[in-house]
């Protein structure tokens, strides 16, 4: 049951081969059995899940359904869920029960989906390994000594271990695609503005985007149909038509132009990794796509520019955690300054505090032009690079991350080494483009991900290309050994 695609589950539910309660119980049982190994969940909503499943079964019996009715899902703990703890992986929000649902949570609730629980993540989505969680690190299902990637590590590990059929994530610099690659699942970051940010706890407002983590591109498309769309409560939400993302999945990719940026395939890329990515490119070529070498000269400026812009916005976004209206408050504050400083330094973890430091520094009046404005100028250059590239090609192909999953603890001492896991993903966020990571083989028994980048609002193209790849390969069907049993 846990290996079935969303459409197969939907079919089973509609034809009453299984009830939503049974399906939900099945996944709850798997979570109980396997999550102690993974630590993928912060909160498991067993009671409400079964209630929601019962309601879904009622809807199914009355034929008032959507393809998603009765299907369980896990939300990254960054999405506000009414009446349920929403921690954002932080001690700061350990006591925060949201009074409202995020717009995208509400939209999926309306379809009759069942919430299994809230998944673990790097604190405030700041991290590439899921080691920065107040609730402890998440383990990679392929090797429990390795990280699953981050920040949506809980969602990716849960889908990879098949303890959730599908999950949501967020991506600010690679936080869906990088853990999807390291965990061997499919993860889509849509175009900035495609999915509402209302109710998604902000890390960096101009970069954050909600997306989907699933077993297959087809599953992503099915969920995205209801997950995406305009939201009047988000000023940065796009009022663009939402196509049926499943409609074009099977379209032929013959004649499609795929660009391989020279800047990603240089001597710095591990040769074995490069082979895997080229092999994926070859598969597209086999199906009639035309490969091109392209230039994205600003790629190398992406990392430092990202680590200016994201912390700047984060420092400001995280100023609201002051111990006054919600969140952690220190004991017996002596005065106002003490209330602020202790609540914040106790409530935030190390990485978060470091990024607040960077952000405060680059926004301070003496450094603003040299760092913040400069980084925003680089964003313009990055966008121009992509715009130029998309004049001649349809999709860009890169490795998702330079390496496979690394050992827990191995990069915690060296922040910059950690940051570089996102070297191929951050420019996509800086430009606001859509990107997807799909499983493309294994290196030393650890999954490798290939990233496809599309033009603005071209998620359909990405899903089509990814789906065609998955029709021809079976990397996405592999399940880590420990989690294969019932």
């Amino acid at each position: 049951m846990h290996t079935k695609t969303l459409l197969a589950l939907s079919d089973a539910l509609q034809h009453k081969k299984i009830s939503s309660v049974e399906l939900t119980q099945h996944f709850l049982d798997r979570i109980k059995k396997f999550d102690p190994l993974l630590n993928a969940f912060i909160t498991i909503t067993e009671r409400t899940a079964l209630e929601e499943a019962r309601k879904a079964d009622e809807r199914i019996s009355k034929n008032k359904t959507s393809p998603l009715t009765g299907i369980p899902i896990a939300h990254k703990d960054i999405f506000c869920t009414a009446g349920i703890k929403t921690s954002c992986g932080s001690k700061m929000l350990d006591n925060f029960v949201s009074p409202y649902d995020a717009t995208c949570v509400q939209k999926l609730k309306n379809t009759g989906m069942v919430l299994l629980g809230k998944t673990n993540m790097d604190e405030f989505a700041m991290g590439s390994s899921n080691e920065n969680s107040y609730y402890g690190p998440v383990k990679n299902p392929w090797d429990l000594d390795k990280v699953p990637g981050g920040s949506s590590g809980g969602s990716c590990a849960a889908v990879a271990a098949r303890i959730a059929p599908i999950a949501t994530g967020t991506d600010t610099g690679g936080s869906i695609r990088q853990p999807a690659a390291l965990s061997g699942v499919t993860g889509l970051k849509p175009t900035y503005g495609r999915v509402s940010r209302f109710g998604m706890i902000a890390f960096a407002s101009s970069l954050d985007q909600a997306g989907v983590i699933a077993k297959t591109a087809e599953d992503v498309a099915v969920l995205l149909n209801d997950f995406a769309g305009f939201d009047p409560n988000d000023s940065t939400s796009a009022d663009n038509p939402v196509p049926d993302f499943t409609a074009s999945l099977n379209k032929s990719i013959s004649g499609l132009h795929i660009g391989l940026p020279k800047e990603c395939f240089n001597e710095q890329l591990d040769a074995q990794m490069a082979d895997k990515i080229y092999a994926a490119a070859k598969e597209f070529e086999k199906q009639g796509a035309i490969l091109h070498d392209i230039d994205l000269p600003m790629m190398r400026a992406g990392m430092p520019a990202y680590y200016v812009v994201a912390p700047a916005e984060a420092a400001s976004n995280l100023a609201r955690y002051d111990g006054v209206r919600f969140g952690h408050r220190c004991d017996n504050p002596k005065n106002l300054e003490d209330l602020y400083a202790r609540s914040r330094s106790e409530g935030f973890g190390d990485e978060v505090k470091h990024r607040i430091f960077t952000g405060t520094y680059v926004l301070s009046s003496t450094h603003y032009n040299a760092y913040y404005i400069k980084a925003q100028q680089i964003r313009t250059l990055i966008r121009r690079d992509y715009e130029a590239a998309f004049k001649n090609i349809d999709v860009i192909l890169t490795p998702t991350s330079p390496t496979t999953a690394f050992s827990i603890g191995s990069r915690m001492k060296d922040r910059i080494q950690m940051y570089l896991s996102d070297i191929f993903t951050v420019t996509v966020n800086l430009a606001g483009l859509p990107g997807i990571s799909i499983p493309a083989g294994f290196l030393n028994d650890l999954p490798v991900g290939v990233q496809l980048i599309g033009n603005y609002f071209e998620e359909s193209t990405l899903l089509n290309v990814a789906h065609r790849y998955q029709q021809a390969t079976d990397w996405h069907l592999k399940i880590p050994e420990k989690f294969r049993g019932e």
Binding site: F96, S206, D239, P304, Y307, V308, E337
Partner: protein, 101 residues
């Protein structure tokens, strides 16, 4: 750019501004910030003459909301997660001296 130097005084100033400073404690935690600043300082090498800063990745105009009241009083719900720090509907903080902004 002077990113490879980061004096304890600057560190103190920044963490005070960010309200993370507690009585001189934890200053040493930020010692490696010099590396980070050096790392992000690489942007200095890019020529951005006459390049406009990106205003926003989503190029559209700000949408406007009709001026209608859509909210109802939900104070009790919103304050239910802060019962230890509210009294008679107001949030309590340590005494603030008038105008100390």
């Amino acid at each position: 750019m002077t990113h490879d130097k980061l004096s304890p005084k600057t560190i103190e100033k920044i963490i005070k501004m960010a309200k993370l400073y507690t009585d001189g404690k934890g200053l040493d935690k930020y010692a490696d910030m010099a590396h980070i600043l050096k790392f992000i300082g690489q942007i200095d090498q890019i020529d951005t003459t006459d390049v406009p800063p990106m205003e926003h990745p989503f190029s559209a105009s700000q949408r406007l909301r009709e001026d209608v009241v859509t909210e109802i009083n939900q104070r009790d719900l919103y304050q239910s997660i802060a019962l230890d720090r509210v009294d008679a509907g107001v949030y309590l903080v340590p005494q603030v001296i008038e105008g100390e902004k």
